[in-house]
Symmetry: C2
Subunit: 341 residues, 2 copies
């Protein structure tokens, strides 16, 4: 009998996720019922939005209930199938949970077309919900035109770095705001950003004045807080603000908004909150386009794979202290584990 | 020689407009040069946005410079013309100034098609920029559908009362938030709102829960502040927030934004700042439609005409203490003054 480690939500976090927030419990792995599949989870995607799901604040999906296994995007391999469309050995991804094994209706997982050419983790990132988030948020909501100035916060993050490069493909001038000199260097040198601001070491308003002297036409926001206030002060008329995330506020006990909210009025700007699931019917379009740009070398992308389901809560905090470098993914098992069975 | 009283901006206001803010000076009325017209101002429109123009905060038009005559929408009568398209006796409206006489290029004023059927002041309100603001803000940005719940702040104001009635024409459920029981009664009894909340006497969040139990699909915002926070907490998925004004914040020394700004993200809402001038090419469409609805009794509208250019600064404060009832207009001269000349 297989042992299934599970991270269950014990209490709703105040501030950053602590050892009290989640509890690692062990159960026997379930057996699939008719129509179900049993999946060996191999990768777990860690994303800022996970922190939202742990709270009971108003949000866009139901929060994770206390006692439930924590929700998360996963990539895994079917090891047992009682669903006609799945065969043991199939690779699947979907909205899973923080555990070794997932068992449920086959319809809840998508088969991955993985042929070994690309790293498997890319389906948790560029060619998954991350890439689609950047694609629709930047190209549909931000809609940068050639010559526009685009500012991306959380720019070295998984979504931000792709969003900025998509604006470059549209021939915009792109400035990123990120949390270290190394991240800024990567944005400019590898990702082709026109400039980057280290918000921990630099004066963001002054640097925006220098790097975006003509104001901001698109502000792709992942963070909220003071960086958003600096961007708002510099919005151009009819600016677009795709609101993708507010990571600087998730760990705060009391929410805050930009003090200069009035700039939305003064600059007749559009702020639009979105989640990638709004665009589900168009995922295949986005993924095909992103794959083509990636193959052509137009998008640089990196992952930060960390070992051990047992360390998942600690790894999640890396998103909030800025210590990750690229799409954060937990390796739960070796990719070839299934081959050895 | 005619005497021209002018309100010139002396200093930028802190808090409400005081006797120090503007200075009443008297000059001889100018004579028109070639291509210019001399207009006897009869009505001056007072609007919350006037307060913005007095400051040097970032805004959508240049602020009024210190020493300049204060800017404002006017209706007046041509008394001297050196422009081929204008004849003495013509009624005109446009962006004028707080003074007895206006002199400038004819192109800056629009001739009014006034035949005496409707009150002349309607061109400063329902059939002018006020009506167009409500029309485009509600119908284009808010875009309420039958059965939607619409909340309007500043609902008894000139724009708000029209905006709410336009949503009623679209068969939405409309709740207004206003500053007195009398205003609320007027909204429900005369304007056909489904409910109204007196924010000075009632608990706005609790009343919204009662009157908008299914949440808010369109929040037409004129005020900002705590009322906006209460509305944000109740936004439905994909809600639209036409951001027309933030009157509760204009007199504050330090700007504030809604603390629950994150609701834009969580409910995947759109907040869009706008000013009516964005829709200038479509004004005639809006005015024709508004006039038709008004004639059909579908829009109730009232004006609050107050006498005396010399009292204009005090009258302006009525917009901020909520003591006006309807579109606020200053009568500078009698309508028939020109006939007596």
């Amino acid at each position: 009998m297989k042992t299934n480690r599970q991270w269950r939500l014990r209490q709703r976090p105040q501030g950053q996720v602590s050892t009290e927030t989640l509890e690692l419990v062990t159960e026997p792995a379930p057996s699939p019922a008719d129509g179900q599949i049993l999946v060996r989870n191999v990768y777990l995607s860690l994303d800022p939005t996970n922190r939202i799901w742990m709270t009971d604040m108003a949000q866009y999906m139901p929060p994770v209930a206390l006692g439930e296994v924590m929700r998360g995007g996963t990539i895994g391999r079917v090891i047992e199938s009682r669903h006609p469309a799945f065969t043991p050995g199939d690779w699947v991804s979907g909205m899973g949970q923080w555990q070794d094994y997932w068992c449920g209706p086959g319809e809840q997982m998508a088969k991955l077309p993985w042929d070994g050419t690309l790293p498997l983790t890319i389906y948790s990132g560029l060619l998954g919900m991350i890439g689609c988030t950047a694609y629709f948020g930047m190209l549909e909501i931000g809609n940068p035109q050639a010559g526009d100035t685009v500012v991306v916060s959380g720019a070295a993050g998984a979504v931000g770095s792709i969003a900025g490069q998509l604006a470059k493909i549209r021939s915009a001038r792109v400035i990123g705001v990120a949390g270290s000199r190394a991240k800024c260097d990567w944005l400019v040198t590898d990702c082709g950003f026109d400039g980057a601001i280290d918000y921990r070491a630099e004066d963001v308003p002054a640097r925006l004045d220098a790097l975006a002297p003509d104001g901001i036409d698109v502000y792709f926001d992942n963070v909220g807080g003071a960086i958003t206030e600096a961007a708002f002060d510099r919005l151009n008329l009819n600016a677009r603000v795709p609101l993708c995330g507010l990571i600087s506020t998730y760990n705060k006990p009391v929410p805050t908004g930009p003090r200069n909210y009035h700039m939305i009025l003064m600059r007749r700007a559009i702020v639009r909150g979105f989640i990638v699931m709004d665009y589900l019917p168009r995922f295949s379009e986005a993924i095909a386009q992103l794959a083509q740009w990636y193959a052509a070398g137009k998008i640089h992308y990196r992952v930060d794979v960390r070992d051990g389901l047992e360390h998942a809560p600690a790894h999640l905090n890396a998103l909030f202290d800025g210590s990750n470098q690229g799409k954060l993914i937990v390796r739960i098992a070796d990719e070839d584990e299934g081959d050895r069975l």
